[in-house]
């Protein structure tokens, strides 16, 4: 069945339901190829399909899911979800939730590139992955292992609720990542780079991160063989778009998710307060179109709320949290379209989409020229942030800046700090901008495809290095 046919089925089943019932059909087709050492380690197609049902009775949620996409299967799941909601209603008689009223989506959305990607032959996709791996492996005598991974998610959804959501979407999310281990005389170094988009095959390969990607991965992994570690301590740093994306997502984004705010995150009670330099405006968007190439675009969230560009920090002042319909009702604001579920059998949680700092007016080269002794930090590793705003990120490599110039390539560094404190030290924001986190997943009980990015920003930050 196609999404429109499923939507009709869901409409037939939901008729005459009392209370709030939400039916969410989700079919994900995921194709994944992994080539390394001249062989194909993974050539996999997986398909997952079913209907997730939420019932909201007496201010309490019940959830059930079924892979049986028939009227009988969905009706049975509704009965289970209703029964489950009643159990929760009994357990929390003193504390009831409500849902904010909002105009829900009725669109049938087909995303850019969906038809292109579904129409492309698998031989072309797998062949390209094999070719890139061969090119990377043969690009330098020092490349010990090349590894190329391609993943595409083809997402199809239909959402029907008793209060008006009646929408479908078909979107494509392809991504490509390359990594290399370089080796020389017993020394080893690694480097990886990639990109992901909400779009098709053509859009993916136009992503700026994939310009000269084979040469970049080979060159940097080999150059890092000779590199030393940066010196630890508090330093003047210019963070590249990937690191700015990590900072925006991990250190700020999670602390402003309304469920986390309710629990007491560091952002609680700070709306309207100055939390960053006036140069910083930070947002989370589900409908990014101006810069292109963002991975986390969605026409509506998994409650049927149309997505928007939510300004979290405006000129340094905390402006908004990220909301589901339930949290928006509790905070007395409009929902922001951030309720997302990973698969049909996951319940929606408050999640980010594309999180970023808006570009400024400075040129990167001028920002570098103004530093006597500092670091330019490029490429993001993993990252994590804490309830109190303390964060940790890894980077791929670091340039030592001396007397206004990039001097020496150094190995990766780990950075840490208190997010709002670091953002208050921002004294320059570049006009150059890039989405640069489209190959990863965010984890919060469930995975989620997100993107993050930004301009280059200059700030003070702790670098983890070696003590002598």
């Amino acid at each position: 069945m196609n999404p429109i046919q499923v939507k009709q089925l869901l409409n037939d089943v939901i008729k005459n339901q009392s209370d709030y019932v939400e039916l969410r059909w989700h079919r994900r087709t995921a194709n994944q190829f992994l080539a390394t050492k001249g062989r194909v380690d993974v050539a996999n197609q997986s398909r997952t399909e079913g209907v997730g049902v939420r019932a909201f009775i007496q201010g309490a949620w019940g959830f059930a899911a079924t892979a049986n996409v028939t009227p009988e299967g969905v009706r049975k799941a509704i009965d289970e979800a209703r029964r489950n909601a009643k159990i929760i209603a009994q357990l929390r008689q003193d504390s009831k939730s409500s849902l904010s009223s909002v105009r829900l989506s009725t669109q049938d959305f087909v995303g850019d590139g969906f038809k292109e990607l579904t129409g492309l032959k698998v031989t072309d996709k797998l062949g390209k992955v094999i070719d890139i791996e061969r090119e990377l492996q043969s690009s330098s005598q020092f490349i010990q292992t090349a590894r190329v991974r391609y993943t595409e998610y083809l997402e199809e959804k239909a959402i029907v609720t008793t209060d008006g959501a009646n929408c479908t979407m078909q979107i494509a999310q392809p991504e490509l990542s390359l990594s290399a281990i370089a080796e020389n005389a017993g020394d080893r170094s690694t480097y990886h780079k990639g990109a992901g988009v909400s779009g098709g095959w053509t859009c993916l390969f136009k992503h700026p991160s994939l310009d000269h990607v084979v040469n970049d991965v080979a060159k940097i992994s080999v150059d890092l063989l000779k590199a030393k570690y940066p010196e630890g301590g508090k330093k003047t740093c210019i963070l590249g778009p990937a690191v700015v994306g990590l900072l925006s997502h991990e250190a700020i984004g999670h602390t402003v998710e309304a469920d986390f705010v309710k629990s007491g995150s560091v952002a609680q009670g700070k709306i309207g307060q100055m939390v960053a330099s006036p140069l910083v405006t930070l947002a989370d968007t589900g409908c990014e179109t101006t810069q292109g190439y963002a991975m986390g675009n969605l026409p509506f969230d998994d409650e049927g709320v149309e997505t928007e560009n939510t300004i979290i920090i405006k000129n340094g002042i905390l402006n908004s949290y990220l909301h589901s319909r339930e949290s928006a009702a509790e905070f007395g604001v409009k929902p922001t379209g951030n309720a997302r579920a990973w698969l049909y059998n996951d319940e929606p949680l408050i999640r980010m989409r594309n999180t970023y700092i808006l570009p400024g007016k400075q040129k990167l080269e001028n920002m570098i020229a103004e530093i006597n002794d500092g670091y330019l930090i490029e490429g993001a590793g993993s990252g994590q942030a804490d309830a109190n705003g303390e964060f940790m990120f890894g980077s791929s490599y670091v340039w030592h800046i001396k007397n206004g110039k990039r001097q020496t390539l150094l190995k990766e560094a780990t950075m840490s700090g208190i997010a709002f404190d670091v953002l208050k030290t921002v004294d320059a924001v570049s006009e150059e901008f890039k989405w640069d986190s489209g190959t990863g997943h965010c984890g919060k009980g469930q995975p989620a495809k997100v993107d993050a990015g930004g301009p280059y920003i200059r700030c003070q930050m702790n670098l983890g290095g070696r003590q002598s």
Partner: protein, 459 residues
Amino acid sequence: MQSNSTPSSTIEQQLAQRAENLELGAHHLMQFASKKGADRSKIAVSASFEQRLAVESGHFTLANSLASQSVSLLLHKDQKKSSASANTTDLKTLEQTCEDCLALASFSVADPYLIMPSADEAPKATPLDHLFDNPLSSLELYELKDFAQTVLSRLTKDKRVALDKCDMAISSSFHGLYNSLGVMQKERQTALSWSFFGMAVDGDEVSGFDYDGRHVYRFEGALQEALRDADRFVEKVIGNLYPKKAKSYKGQVLLSPRAVEEILLETLLFHAAGTSVMDKKSLWMEAINQKVATDSLSLIDRPHESRLTGATAFDSDGLPTREQTILEHGVLKMHLLDCYSAHRLSKKSNGMAGGPFALTMSPGKETLENMRHGRGDLLLVDRFSGNIDTVRGDFSGVAKSSRMLHNGSDQGPVTETMIAGNIFEILKTIPAISNHQELVSGAMLLPWVLIDQVSVSAG
């Protein structure tokens, strides 16, 4: 192949019905794949019933019941391979999935080392009956709520605890693995699981977050275990309040069992892995029976250990699992080989496809009390949030939920404290290992380990 269970049938009966359907489907698929030209096929199937209660911000927010299933295929044709999976038992859909999978294989690269074990190489594994508990499988969601309320009361007794999320779930599952050379394995498990995530808030002071949780296979004694974990969680988040700056130094650091897992094990297992050896990425390619760490370090995989969540009767190639020593008194005793990496290395698999499954590190001789004392400044690292380069063994990151000790006396929690070092250097000079082990996330049994040569940078 739709389930014909009735509402009155028990979960155990429904699981048995699903398992039978899945087994029939697996055999049908293997025949179909062969008819369509596959040289070999492997089918892995699973079914589970799960019921869950979720708590957010200290209140019950959601009750959830799920029945799920999946069928995964791995096909070899003309020395090429591909795989596919679907969450259906509808035969027409699965046949189409099989045909798509074969088409995908034809575009792949030929690999003469592809292999699957025969029934002789992978005899039927002895089922681990202790992993399935009838009282647990028959527990209903409304019965779980009493358990959950008791644990929640314990977690929120101290009003400074801000419990962000807490889940409690019961599940019954079946897992089968079959291949066209006659391998047939199956097992079933029950689980009662809990997880806590949150922090402490005292006025304007917000602590770092922490988490705890695990699962047990049996209902008996589960509440006491969950309450013990709840007490430990509360103690940790309250203990994280009002952190201070640490001192910078280079030297010894005391790792909790959780930090041992997070910092040391990934790199150790990467270099012991058969795939790393076959791809010449391992530094321990020629190190079998050689010393790679200090005498005090021993690692044993115990796949039949009923306290550990990874327990299983067979590996993902279908070979029966068994207790195996990976590292004995610092000497590497084996590489972790699945059938493919073993074939590439002209060896036999040791049943480690997807393993190790239930890792234990042997206890040492020191008491924890002695390890904390008499060392001037000593950072106690309970959790590590950072990056590890498994190829080189370098690690760098933030010490979370961690404390500064001075001559054994607790100086309190620390903030913005980073640690860095190299795991291979550390392995050569481990000063002490505790004389007791602790469960880590229910998945491993590990001791406390004192390590040296670590850079501690205070923010």
